[in-house]
């Protein structure tokens, strides 16, 4: 049971990393990404394949995964640079599905739908399962802390301010002499890279990945984490991810008490519950638990218009 709780904390930490990545793209720069699970898959597969085939150290593998995911994100952003945002929604969703198709079919590279098993974990051989989970929790928390600090720095740096300006009105940004496109590209690749890193962390933790793991539902979970926590807010991303894992895992214990349903129906009820939660959060609490901070000490928040601007952020 302790191992279960620790492993849930690890998963929550990994979700929190993904939510941080999403926050850079979506929260700060207002770029929609319905295919972040594709970036996670790119990171996870890159790291798994590199560490398994070429026996490179795990940290390097995870870094490589993050770089590949960032590069793929950059390409996606380049292709869609002149398009309205709803095309970005379609393209990113299609991108994630295509990654899944490639992972299912390139058997020589990814072992197809059977997935890759036996991915190396740090010190796995020398530790008991309990110790291993604890060590990995430590690693994930360290990474999370590091990224959190980085994202906070980005958020308050000139880059972060430009990104928020791009989100609110990219015309104004262009008038101010900034190249809005290149900032969108930066945000998209940084965000994709962080999500790819989370994918790598996941692969080395569970030692097994398969295309079935990287379904659109996972994208919605991360999206929901950020929405619940507060879009545009790094603290919110972390809190939201913890909360979502609590709900997800909690529902695992509640569903078996519903009489007369099969396990498949139980799973359906959990997914139904999650999508309903997302719809409700999206509808009624668009600012999340911790709203984006208003960082000017003197100028007040623009009154009732805050609701409008925070909605525009989507």
């Amino acid at each position: 049971m302790e191992i279960y709780i620790i492993s849930m904390c690890v998963v929550a930490g990994i979700y929190a990393v993904m939510a941080l990545g999403l926050n850079v793209m979506w929260g700060m720069a207002g770029l929609v990404n319905l295919g972040l699970v594709g970036s996670a898959a790119a990171g996870a597969y890159t790291s798994a394949i590199l560490t398994k085939t070429f026996a490179i150290p795990i940290p390097l593998g995870i870094m490589a995964g993050a770089i590949v995911a960032a590069a793929v994100g950059a390409v996606l952003s380049l292709v869609t640079r002149r398009l309205k945002e709803h095309y970005l929604a379609i393209v990113t969703l299609g991108f994630a599905e295509t990654i899944r198709i490639v992972a299912s079919n390139e058997i020589w590279l990814t072992n197809g739908t059977d997935g890759i098993s036996g991915i190396a974990g740090p010190f796995r051989a020398d530790l008991t399962p309990f110790q291993y989970n604890l060590v990995y929790l430590g690693i994930v928390l360290l990474v999370l802390l590091g990224l959190y600090v980085c994202c906070q720095r980005i958020s308050y740096s000139p880059l972060g301010r430009v990104l928020r300006a791009v989100r609110d009105d990219d015309m104004v940004v262009s008038v101010a002499g900034k190249n809005a496109q290149s900032f969108k590209l930066k945000a998209f690749s940084i965000g994709s890279g962080i999500i790819g890193l989370a994918g790598g962390l996941y692969a080395h933790y569970t030692s097994f990945i398969s295309p079935d793991l990287f379904v659109p539902l996972l994208t919605l979970y991360v999206k929901l984490s950020l929405l619940v926590g507060g879009v545009g807010n790094n603290r919110g991303a972390v809190v939201g991810a913890a909360l979502i894992i609590l709900i997800l895992e909690g529902s695992r214990f509640v569903v078996p008490f519903i009489p007369y349903i099969s396990p498949a129906q139980g799973a359906a009820i959990r997914e139904l519950f999650l999508s309903a939660t997302l719809l409700i959060v999206l509808r009624f609490r668009v600012t999340g638990l911790i709203p984006e901070p208003h960082d000017h000490p003197v100028i007040p928040r623009p009154g009732t218009a805050t609701a409008g601007t925070s909605i525009k952020a989507f």
Binding site: I90, T98, R283
Partner: protein, 286 residues
């Protein structure tokens, strides 16, 4: 492999794909957001048709009508109750809402029917061979159904008052409003028609093989590709786009394994967005 055979298969597949693609593009032109809920409505239609066909013993044509009706009604209801309030919050919020809706509805279907593959009760029939090309009678029936439905849709849009009102709202919502067209009713009709066509398309796709709760989701990428390639919002574009995607998917079999069919749709989206973002028939730049 025979290229002509592949092209014939592609035309058949494309004509089926055109039905939900018209639905998607019609909804887009009136409601102005990419409605991902089209995937689950295709599944709902496929299962409604399956219940009518395999449980209550209706033949294929009435089952198709039931598929259209049920998924249209579900579409109307979910849009009215769930998606409509999102629209004031912007395109992307609505699109994310529709993605959540599609996963929710898909799981409602899973709750009642489970994950098993199901097939329709169809009379067995021998392939017709024309000039060395094999044509399945069921495929030909599907082609005929698609053509009739397309003709009805065009007739509705061009010759009826409501159809003209719908085109007016799509063209210029403000001007339509000034002329006294009630955009709420037009939106409802667009939802019913769009999702009805999605359900009909879902069942047509299922008639070719079998159905499960993911039927709609698997076809979502080709449906979007058809609409984007044709130009989102253009109905003749959706038909042309669907034929392009159908034929391209079949021709890809010459070079790629069959499981890569949906990747073709994605490549088509990327290509068209890079080369001609407004699509083959689109007027709207960007």
């Amino acid at each position: 492999m025979n290229v002509l055979q592949l092209i014939a298969n592609g035309i058949m597949a494309g004509s089926i794909l055109a039905i939900p693609a018209i639905g998607l593009t019609a909804m887009y032109s009136v409601l102005r957001f990419p409605n991902f809920a089209i995937a689950s409505h295709a599944t709902v239609g496929a299962f409604a048709g399956w219940v009518a066909n395999s449980v209550y013993g209706f033949s294929v044509l009435p089952s198709l009508a039931i598929a259209l009706l049920i998924s249209g009604l579900v579409g109307l209801l979910t849009d009215e109750l769930i998606l409509k309030p999102f629209r004031s919050a912007g395109v992307i919020t609505t699109a994310i809402g529709s993605l959540a809706l599609t996963i929710g509805l898909e799981n409602v279907v899973r709750l009642f029917f489970g994950n098993d593959l199901r097939g329709y009760d169809l009379p067995l029939a021998r392939d017709i061979i024309v000039g060395g090309i094999h044509l399945g009678p069921q495929q030909l029936n599907n082609l005929a159904v698609s053509i009739v439905v397309m003709a009805l849709v065009f007739g509705f849009l061009f010759f009826t008052r409501m159809g003209k009102a719908m085109r007016a709202v799509a063209d210029n919502p403000r001007l339509a409003d000034i002329k006294g067209i009630d955009s709420r009713i037009v939106a409802r009709i667009a939802s019913f028609m769009g999702m009805g066509l999605a359900g009909l398309g879902g069942m047509l796709i299922g008639l070719d093989s079998s159905i499960d709760p993911l039927t709609g989701f698997r076809s979502m990428l080709p449906i979007f590709a058809a609409a984007v390639v044709g130009g989102l919002g253009s109905i003749p574009g959706a038909v042309a786009g669907a034929l392009v995607i159908g034929i391209a998917e079949e021709l890809s079999l010459l070079a790629l394994p069959a499981s890569y069919k949906s990747a073709v749709a994605f490549i088509a989206i990327m290509l068209i967005l890079t080369l001609r973002p407004q699509g083959l028939f689109g007027r709207e730049a960007n």
